[in-house]
């Protein structure tokens, strides 16, 4: 732990703290503060997907479902049953995690594109349940007047960004521990890992469950942030957005998804001046990054640094 305070990592965290503390005062309009909250949530989501996709190598297109489960379970417990926010959040994180473990049952049997489509199907089913189970979720009419756990956008940003930093710290330690080696072994070659005594089923369930729980945690803050809750916020497009963040930033690295989340949250906003061209540029940029920077921004940066040396 002493090395953490004196080493490069400690400096990184100090810088992260300063950036988080200063951000709402540098971008001080209420519009940009909203974008900051969104950015912090996206960082959490990208981190959650990266654990499953980047470190464990499981092609998961269903992450939007866990985001939605977190949002709906917490909101229903608060609004219908009068629970306290934190208790509801705890239950929602647990529910998302359990469903994540259930989805891992598919990951045990399926690989590659099959798992991708199975998880996509899972996301579609979750979305359809949110739409059709009107007695509980209010369907497409949605729920209104949802309050955030803290009084204003700056506090909400500090809260979510703080949680993001904590999750980053914990995951960073996790992936450098023997557990991280186990997950990477499954990613690189599952059969060889099994030959060395790694129980693939258990560790996939662990990665899916933990990833789902983190996405569910991000979901707890979303309804209070926008004030309303409709199923459309958790369509499969959300899964693609998360995946784009992970890939553009650099899959399988810790800092990559964070960079990806920040870039892809702010890029569309900066392109707002281009009007309808905005999302077209976004699409082209995504395709170009995948073709020309296969390792994402992080690897491109490392490559550039090595060249200059």
């Amino acid at each position: 732990l002493t090395s953490f305070f004196t080493g490069k990592k400690g400096v990184g965290f100090l810088i992260a703290l300063i950036v988080i503390a200063a951000a709402p005062w540098l971008l001080s309009t209420s519009y940009w503060r909203g974008i900051l909250v969104l950015c912090a949530m996206n960082v959490l989501l990208a981190l959650s997907l990266n654990l499953v996709m980047g470190y464990t190598g499981q092609l998961n297109l269903g992450q939007s479902a866990f985001f939605g489960i977190g949002a709906y379970v917490s909101t229903i417990l608060i609004k219908t049953y009068g629970w306290n926010f934190w208790l509801a959040a705890l239950a929602a994180v647990g529910a998302a995690g359990l469903v994540g473990v259930a989805l891992a049952a598919f990951a045990v049997r399926l690989r590659g594109h099959y798992l991708a489509i199975a998880s996509l199907g899972f996301a579609v089913i979750t979305y359809q349940v949110l739409v059709n189970w009107e007695s509980v979720t209010q369907g497409v009419r949605g729920m209104y007047g949802i309050l955030p756990p803290v009084p204003n956008a700056v506090a909400l940003f500090y809260l979510v960004a703080g949680i993001g930093l904590l999750v980053y710290f914990l995951l960073d330690n996790l992936v450098r521990s023997p557990v991280g080696d186990t997950l990477r072994a499954i990613r690189e070659d599952e059969v060889s890992a099994a030959a060395l005594g790694v129980n693939g089923a258990v560790w996939k369930a662990f990665a899916f469950g933990l990833g789902a729980a983190i996405a569910g945690l991000a979901g707890c803050f979303y309804p209070g942030f926008v004030g309303t809750l409709v199923p459309d916020a958790f369509g499969i497009v959300e899964s693609f957005t998360m995946m784009a963040m992970v890939i553009v930033g650099g899959m399988g690295t810790m800092i990559g998804p964070v960079i990806g989340a920040v870039v892809l949250t702010f890029l569309p906003e900066l392109l707002r001046g281009f009007g309808e061209l905005r999302l077209m540029i976004y699409g082209v940029a995504l395709t170009l990054v995948v073709i020309f920077m296969p390792g994402g921004i992080v690897q491109a940066w490392w490559g550039l640094k090595n060249k200059l040396r």
């Binding site: 996509l120 089913i125 359809q128 699409g283 395709t287």
Partner: protein, 306 residues
């Protein structure tokens, strides 16, 4: 009893017509997957492009500029949709799939890259055509054909006829032409096919062009029966994937059977459970299929995928 029987037959007919549309979309995905082992996520957006190409050919160009009557104009528009799909397929093959292949990309990157293409196409069409739905009138949709107690529109007869013709043409191409044989060879073993002097890049490009042309024609037939917006095709993509998986990835016969099956199930779901539950039923079926028989209806011997 005769009423019930008539209803069942009527819904089966509706289902087959719907299923033929799905087959036209899903076949392209299967073809590309079979040859390339990659997924083109923008495939369903080619359907939308085909639908718009047909719409403007039928309602603006053919009737107004050339003075062709309604039915002829619509039939002509099928060919413009085919051309638009093929052109788009060639562009995506050259600009996305070929560079990724040269860089030795894994299975994930083409998927993400084509998600980018999909975003580009949807929003490009949104900028060009706007969000307001287009009314695409096919003269054939107005005709009703009656066979005893069973009714169907001229449009559904056309859909079934064109789909059957396309499938027959595709099989004939695969079986009897040199390029078709080359295509099957590349699908079986790309490296060996290359060593045998087959130009694999040409074959792969051709596969994507054929697949995209099918999607374009599907769009021209789909346009008049749905609400035509820049996102019409996108609503199909997930269902098309479900069909491809249920049929067994890369397997043409499986895809045809699965497409018809999903169409029929959808028709009966609408009849008995309500249209809101279509996706739920189809995807429950998909997940069940993946648990019980992950290789699909017709298994290919590709152990490493499952």
């Amino acid at each position: 009893v005769t009423d019930l029987l008539a209803l069942v037959v009527q819904q089966s007919v509706n289902g087959i017509y719907l299923g033929c549309l799905y087959v036209m979309v899903a076949l392209g995905l299967t073809l590309i997957y079979g040859v390339l082992n990659q997924i083109n996520f923008a495939h369903a957006d080619f359907v939308t492009v085909g639908a718009f190409a047909a719409f403007f050919t039928a309602t603006r160009f053919a009737t107004k500029a050339l003075g062709i009557p309604d039915t002829g104009a619509y039939l002509l528009s099928l060919f413009s949709a085919l051309g638009a799909g093929a052109l788009l397929g060639w562009l995506v093959s050259a600009a996305v799939f070929a560079p990724l292949r040269r860089r030795g990309a894994d299975e994930l990157r083409p998927l993400i890259a084509t998600i980018g293409v999909s975003v580009l196409l949807e929003n490009g069409q949104l900028a060009l055509f706007g969000p307001i739905p287009y009314q695409f009138d096919s003269p054939l949709a107005r005709e009703t054909i009656r066979l005893g107690p069973i009714f169907f529109s001229g449009q559904s007869a056309l859909v079934v006829a064109v789909s059957v013709a396309a499938i027959v043409a595709l099989y004939a191409f695969m079986r009897f032409t040199f390029m078709g044989k080359a295509l099957r060879a590349v699908a079986q073993d790309r490296e060996t096919a290359g060593l045998m002097g087959i130009n694999e890049n040409l074959v792969i490009a051709l596969t994507i062009v054929i697949a995209s042309a099918l999607a374009g024609v599907a769009g021209a037939m789909l346009g008049p029966v749905v609400v035509l917006t820049p996102f019409t095709g996108a609503s199909l993509i997930v269902k098309a994937f479900a069909i491809v998986i249920i049929g067994g990835f890369g397997n043409m016969e499986g895809t045809i059977i699965a497409g018809l099956l999903v169409g029929i199930i959808e028709a009966f779901t609408v009849q008995y459970l309500g249209s809101g539950l279509i996706d739920l039923v189809v995807f429950a079926m998909l997940l069940l299929m993946l648990v019980v028989r992950p290789t699909g209806l017709i298994a290919e011997h590709k152990e490493e995928n499952v």
